[in-house]
Amino acid sequence: MRNFRLPRRRFLALSAAGLGGSLLSGCDRLSEAPDFQEFLASAEGLTYRAQRLLGGGHALAREFTAGDVSPIFKVNGTAMPEGEDYAALLEGNFGDWRLRVDGLVAKPLEFSLTDLRNLPQRTQITRHDCVEGWSAIGKWQGVPLAVVLARAAILPAARFVVFHCADVLEQTLDGTGQYYESIDLIDAFHPQTILAHSLNDAPLTVGHGAPLRLRVERQLGYKQAKYVMRVELADRLDGFGRGKGGFWEDRGYEWYAGI
């Protein structure tokens, strides 16, 4: 019996190593298989439904105090949108900038920055969580999206709010490198979802999305679209970009970024 022990042990070790190695290369191959990736992505629907079921429709994100604000709020993604149009708007201190609200609405509208500042305001000190893993706390001020949507009177067919941005994050031939984002109506009408024009009591800098960015506080940083130019109400998302509802969603990230 003892004589058989060593070869058997070595056999086990070798098979374990072989199995481990082939599992690893197998996992890499599965990472490149679109069908399997779709299968893995099915967990997103489960996460979304579970969070909504647990009260995620109305729950508020934690709000902090002035003492918690991060000394430096990291600029991520686009730091300066390219192109003459944005440069001209910046040059004029966004006096000529207008936010267009259209799509499935009864009254398409345009708002200047002054218009938005004259609407009811909300200020919130919240934590921004980047998909990379870091967090920063900042004080945001802006108009609740619900206020803007109420003025434009959204149509019953509307299911999503799409945010069109001024920045191109990736140069592509078909124009799908333009930044955009989308959220459902639960998040659109959530009281902490605002179109923010100020960070830490100052107008947004270019790096943080001047003149206007979205804050949808219960989701990750890439949902907080910067340089918002147009808010479009839609009944489906497959007509925008590459069809997944956002710049990063088109590149494999979750549309529901509450996780």
Partner: protein, 289 residues
């Protein structure tokens, strides 16, 4: 040992009789292997996610300009090849080849936190790493739930894992530690049951480490933080929870390392057979047979 016994007794040695006992229930065996798959995928995809921002902080927030408790990075300020480093507080270690700077499949030096052989996928892709992680997080959670419910229903935890009062006395524990250090393991009838260190370790993994992984994982979800704000407070903030998630994962790796070592020392064939078929062989001295 047989020489000593021969010296004591001149009568023919009683050969230890091999006896198969039923060690693991079907649920335990099934959930064990599913758990192995989940923990492997979660660990490797977790390192992929960690690589997107290879630094850990304490508190609610933390980013590049904040002081990190632990950090992996690369220094390419010199003229030579870049050097990888790991920094704990103020202590910095050169980790070139493994952490910070490692070689990819084409043998080129790349700057990345954990090396390609430790991450899923092996190349840098946060989006795919997250997909693996969140899918298997659900499987891991469901599997743990099945194991816990079955363990309660069959009284497995009370019968097999809860140490008896006398096993918890300091003397008994120290004795067990000494036995482990001398690689002296229970034989015969004593091998029917787990020893106290084994029981405490399994209880710690099942009821502390694995639940902490799930809870700190949930705390990193901004959606869950709105639903369960007390959970964020429990761990002292989202960045603290992220750090605890990493530390608990490291402890699971340590557990797996010790666990596999013990299996190899005690008898891999018997242990694997027990975890696959349920049958575990013990050798009893049948002196009054």
């Amino acid at each position: 040992m047989s020489e000593i016994q021969s010296a004591i007794s001149s009568t023919p040695l009683p050969r230890p009789r091999r006896l198969f006992i039923h060690r693991h229930t079907r649920i335990t065996r099934l959930t064990h292997w599913i758990n192995l798959l989940c923990v492997t995928v979660l660990l490797m995809s977790g390192l992929q996610i960690f690589n997107a921002h290879p630094a850990l902080y304490w508190g609610q927030s933390g980013a590049n300009t904040d002081r990190a408790l632990f950090e992996i990075g690369a220094d390419d300020s010199s003229d030579g090849p870049p050097a990888g480093f790991a920094r704990f507080g103020s202590s910095t270690f050169n980790t070139t080849g493994i952490l910070g700077v490692s070689r990819d499949t084409e043998d080129d030096l790349v700057l990345r936190g954990f090396p390609g052989w430790a991450t899923l996928p092996s190349w840098r892709d946060l989006a795919i790493g997250r997909r693996w992680h969140f899918f298997f997080a659900w499987v891991f959670f469901a599997n743990l739930l099945v194991y816990l419910l079955a363990g309660i229903a069959t009284r497995h935890f009370w019968r097999d894992l809860l140490p008896r009062r006398e096993q918890l006395r300091l003397g008994a524990l120290l004795h067990d530690v000494a036995d482990h250090l001398r690689l002296k393991f229970p034989r015969g009838e004593a091998a029917r049951h787990y020893n106290p260190l084994q029981k405490l370790t399994y209880l710690g993994v099942v009821f502390v480490l694995l639940p902490v992984m799930i809870l700190t994982g949930l705390t990193m979800s901004p959606g869950m933080d709105a639903i369960l704000p007390w959970l964020v407070d429990l761990f002292g903030g989202r960045q603290s929870a992220r750090t605890i998630h990493f530390v608990a994962a490291s402890l699971i790796v340590l557990f797996v390392f010790v666990h596999v070592t013990m299996v190899l020392l005690v008898g891999p064939v018997n242990a694997l057979r027990a975890m696959i078929t349920g049958r575990f062989a013990i050798y009893v001295e049948d002196d009054h047979a």
